[in-house]
Amino acid sequence: MLELIVPLLNATVQSGTPILYATLGEMMTEKGGVLNLGVEGIMSFSALAAFVTTFTTGSATLGFLAGGCAGLFLAFIHGFVCISCLGNQVVSGLALTILGLGLTRFLGTPYIGLPCEGFEKAAFPILSSIPVMGDILFKQDALVYVSYVVPVLFWFFFKRTSLGMAMESVGEYPAAAAAAGLKPILLRYSAVLGGGFLIGLGGAYLSLAYTHLWTNGLSGGRGWIAVALVIFAFWRPGRAVVGAYLFGGVMAFQLRLQASGTNIPSSILLALPYALTIIALVFSACRRKHSDMPAALGTNIEPEG
């Protein structure tokens, strides 16, 4: 039994990792009061940016950072439209998704089917020898190890640093934040850009560590799942980890079932994560009183004059 479950849980962590990065990225953006529905577009574009960088330079680390920067770039467009130009956040995010997916397919076509080195799994010293847990958590690639630290840093940033708390305050009540001498516009931009960078890292994971190969439609709805998980997680990083691995588990399970040659049609298996997303939202809706949803989420700050 164990020899069946351990590889499945190992795969769960792996397929949950890109979703975790993206969920935390969206959570950061939303804590600053900005809804970014462009996650799907950002993830797929940054997956391409990461792939092309690693493919041409041979450096996986550089590719990972390039993914983050690509996320930063697209998030900046969203920030400019919403924060500086007061555009509708929902529509701007959707437009960003259309743009991001379009750019990915337009620029990525010549790379389809090409492989890239990326990140390979490497056992973490000492910790990987812990029975069972070591096999699940510490026989992964470097980006997974990084992802273990990110939620902790995220929590620390918003709970213990003044910048994080200031960022959260412009998501809650920007007028009060401005009255207290903070700079709401600048803080919102930092939340959007920081979030975009994290979402970009999630995209980079897909091409550098998950597939090692360029194909179209790599993001496959993960961006939208991340948006849903922020709601599911009540805007708390700890619950985001749970949610990301839950979806990672469903995806890993679904892939194994398909590979095992079951009679269940693949389209039904493929629909599982999407159906689960709706179910997850139904469940979190029942307990929404516990949610830390930012009060000013989705509303723009009108300039004076």
Partner: protein, 356 residues
């Protein structure tokens, strides 16, 4: 902000402002597209000329645009009425798929029925299934406050997989050499060209639906209440009809119209259900609805314009081997630029006076 200028709220609306902003957005998008074409080693001048020529330069291009405008218009009208109530229905793509499935179901079940009976059956089923697909997120929103953006979007993915399931499985044409598609519909289930042209009767349907929509919003009590509740849920509370009913009604109408778009596509354009039916009209419809500022007449123009862009991009793909995604890039950029530009509808930059 720029030094030497200061921001001021406009006292009265900027006449023609929306048009100026739209043209500006188009210009910016064309410039960036030209840049992208050059980046791919193609001549931008040639590319933009081929794009123009393929969109508006020939009768066949205009006919093609008119045909593509049909599903976009129907989806967009539905999207616009829900957006007006601040219900973010992103699910036109899935509702379109369900409509196509419903119409196909009838067409395959009753191939020998006379078209005067079969056609209404197909449209009714398309409307019902499309409406049902939109009714699910509406019910989830009303009963459990589930975010409709995500539920409608997830249902898009599920609808496309359902379509795949049907054409790869139980509805697959045994004589299709393994290609995932249903058998060709019988003649009774086809929407034909008007007066012998290639432009089918779906265009006439759009005109009828548009007129009915206009009359409904203007002359019925329900239409009046919808307009009132478009001001936001708080105003809607003062409407005579319960808010929940209005949301449900709008979503089902919206889904039904998208379903009709799917019906017109299978019966008029492809003549069978196949995965290539899903080309993203439902997402283009969102772009159209917002560009048209949710006004029905504008939606007709904007549908035609973005349909023409699609035809032009197909031409570009043929002549210069540019990926079809070029059209999505342009759609995304036009919408983002318009959103950014709308800032100037409420604000203007004024030269700072020395006294300031």
């Amino acid at each position: 902000m720029l030094t030497g200028f200061k921001l001021r709220k406009r006292d009265e609306p900027w006449k023609w402002g929306a048009l100026v902003i739209f043209l500006g957005a188009l210009l910016i998008s064309l410039l960036i597209s030209a840049f992208l074409l050059e980046g791919q080693g193609k001549s931008a001048i040639d590319g933009l000329f081929i794009l123009w020529d393929g969109s508006f330069g020939h009768v066949w291009a205009l006919e093609g645009a008119l045909l593509k405008a049909v599903p976009i218009f129907l989806c967009s009208l539905g999207v616009a009425i829900s957006f007006r109530m601040q219900i973010w229905n992103i699910g036109a793509e899935g509702q379109f798929a369900l409509g196509a499935i419903g119409a196909t179901w009838m067409a395959l079940s009753f191939p020998h029925l006379h078209w005067t009976l079969l056609m209404p059956l197909m449209f009714i089923m398309a409307f019902l299934l499309g409406g049902l697909w939109a009714g699910i997120p509406a019910a989830l929103k009303l009963k459990l406050k589930v975010n409709e953006i995500i539920s409608t979007l997830m249902l898009n993915y599920i609808a496309i997989l359902l379509l795949d399931y049907l054409v790869f499985g139980i509805w697959k044409d045994p004589s299709s050499y393994g290609f995932p598609m249903t058998p060709k519909f019988s003649e009774n289930a086809r929407i034909l060209g008007m007066f012998g042209s290639s432009v089918h009767w779906g265009v006439a349907l759009c005109v009828a639906v548009g007129a009915a929509f206009w009359a409904f919003m203007r002359y019925t009590r329900l239409g009046y209440e919808l307009k009132a509740s478009g001001q936001g849920p708080r105003v809607a509370k003062y409407a005579g009809m319960p808010y929940g009913f209005l949301v449900m009604f709008v979503m089902c109408m919206s889904g039904g119209l998208a379903g009709w778009a799917g019906c017109v596509e299978v019966a008029g354009t492809t003549g069978r259900l196949e995965p290539s039916l899903m080309v993203g009209y439902g997402y283009t419809a969102i772009v159209v609805a917002w560009l048209a500022r949710l006004e029905p007449l504008n939606i007709a123009f904007a549908s035609f314009l973005l349909a023409a862009l699609r035809v032009g991009v197909e031409n570009l793909q043929l002549e210069l081997q540019i990926p079809a995604a070029f059209g999505e890039i342009m759609e995304g950029m036009i919408l983002l630029s318009v959103l950014a530009g709308q800032f100037f509808l409420t604000y203007k930059l004024e030269r700072r006076k020395l006294s300031d």
